[in-house]
Point group: C2
Chain length 354, copies 2
Amino acid sequence: MSLPRIAIDAMGGDEGVRVMVSGAALARHRHENFRFLLVGDQDRIKRALDDHPGLASASEILHCEDVVGGDEKPTQALRRAKTTSMGLAINAVKAGDAGAAVSAGNTGALMAMSKLALRTMPGIDRPALAALLPTLEEHDVIMLDLGANTECDARNLVQFAIMGAAYSRIVEGSGAPRVRLLNIGTEEIKGTDQVQEAAVMLRAARGLAMAFDGFVEADQINRGNVDVVVSDGFSGNIALKAIEGSARFVTDLLKNAFRSSLRSKFGFLVSRPATELLRHHLDPNNHNGAVFLGLNGVVVKSHGSANEKGVANAVAVAARLVEAKLTERIASDLAELGEANLRQAAKAAHKDAT
Amino acid sequence: MSLPRIAIDAMGGDEGVRVMVSGAALARHRHENFRFLLVGDQDRIKRALDDHPGLASASEILHCEDVVGGDEKPTQALRRAKTTSMGLAINAVKAGDAGAAVSAGNTGALMAMSKLALRTMPGIDRPALAALLPTLEEHDVIMLDLGANTECDARNLVQFAIMGAAYSRIVEGSGAPRVRLLNIGTEEIKGTDQVQEAAVMLRAARGLAMAFDGFVEADQINRGNVDVVVSDGFSGNIALKAIEGSARFVTDLLKNAFRSSLRSKFGFLVSRPATELLRHHLDPNNHNGAVFLGLNGVVVKSHGSANEKGVANAVAVAARLVEAKLTERIASDLAELGEANLRQAAKAAHKDAT
């Protein structure tokens, strides 16, 4: 392929074809060198493209009629990898017809299909779902795993740390991202055997392209003093949703307060900077686009309820990771680090545990 | 003992004797029928009592010089159960000299000492740490376990559900609290084996004094449509801290916005209802006082950084649970439910898993 191309599952998500196509058109303004493969119902995609001639000229359509259902079990969806818009978008990455795939469909199915088609990279046992979250500082924080793996051992967590650090170096441009393991305390004795062992391994390993600094508690995630927060998919998903729910709780309280005491237009005007700021910082569309790290190819999950700005962000995440050669970077980090070194670190962890 | 009495570890916490004594004095206004046993350095307690003659007349002092350190390992602290203010406060509960103990000291040490001195109730394998959190509705939500048990099996989770429901019936007065297990999705297939098995057991058990309704995701904790959220101590602690951190993140963003755009006094006045409301709803002091459920006696943990209003809330939690005979209630729920019934439910869970 001459120009990098992104495959878009045009059928996934709550909002359907129109928002996926508009989002891609919006993303194209920032990434003009990209082409797009729009996968799904040809007629509906064409109609949506009528409003976006620029995108139309940079896109091919791959027609299919089958769609993965939102409630479908991953095992069931897997059988239709060759006929669904989600499956075909992933297969385009596998075949080298696209550098990345973006879907707003069923997360479990997307994970299962991606894993089966793209396989995990050498040196990575399991892929992890990673996303960017806002902090009080200028930069974002990367969290992983956000739910791809309900249970993880120390080795998985170490691999997540390496992948998260590679992702952070791409988006923040920092040479040695500050990486921490999510835990219920910062003392060495806190937490599960898995996080303790992972900490020993990360401390013992030499040549890591990160500044590993032990544990972080969930109330520190947004403070801006850590670049990558590593956890198993169960606690990571719970932390992420707790953060989202709590932010919504506070803004709902605020809305009620403004509604009851600031009826005047003037009150509204005065309060606008605050609501604007909250909207900007907390709108999940601004941070849409979670990526499955550790696969032989880039797959980005857009939130099912994302609007066109959200989809554009997810597509931009994909474009950025393709441009920065994420997969190659993780592979080279792993090679640099060396399997022998990791085995050594594992031994250190084991000695420490006994 | 004629009047119910609460033992207070006067030495724990970041703020020391003065805040513990002032907090107890404040709590006494709401619970005038209670007496207090103030444990710690006699001279300092007496000086603090000079400002609170009402409390002084309702208190005895138990002098000791030894204090559990904030960073001390629980195993180390355990050896000084007979000499430290924390240990002696708990021992007063064990000896029947007090109905409850309140401490703002080292959580791990408090847990270890309480468990050793008071033992878990018959039918309960492990105690759990429970706290009240605000919701969008009038009522609070109870969360447990918040960190007493890093790892839990299905049986532990079922017991936590029973204890949490008993606590909820006391504070909310509802006959059948809505109880849910914290999970990363609401579908039956989601989550760890432990939460899935616990759900099967809770669905199968008859005679539960609760309305068990499956799973809840962390973004729904504050919405007000669940009364008790049950989890292992690792995810529960992470959810709690993520909620606290995110609320602080949003209010910090807001403060920055008001500071930069609303310099005028008028702007401040207009924004005051919002900040007042946030202060009221989100001030952790208003929700201070986590209780160890499942012990033969009530032990309440006050946050180390709580102010006197916070300490007063923790003491009020203790008073309320003594008055409502929490321990007896949990025991009777367990008896009502019957060990045979729980075994039956466990069998159902096992059958379902295979």
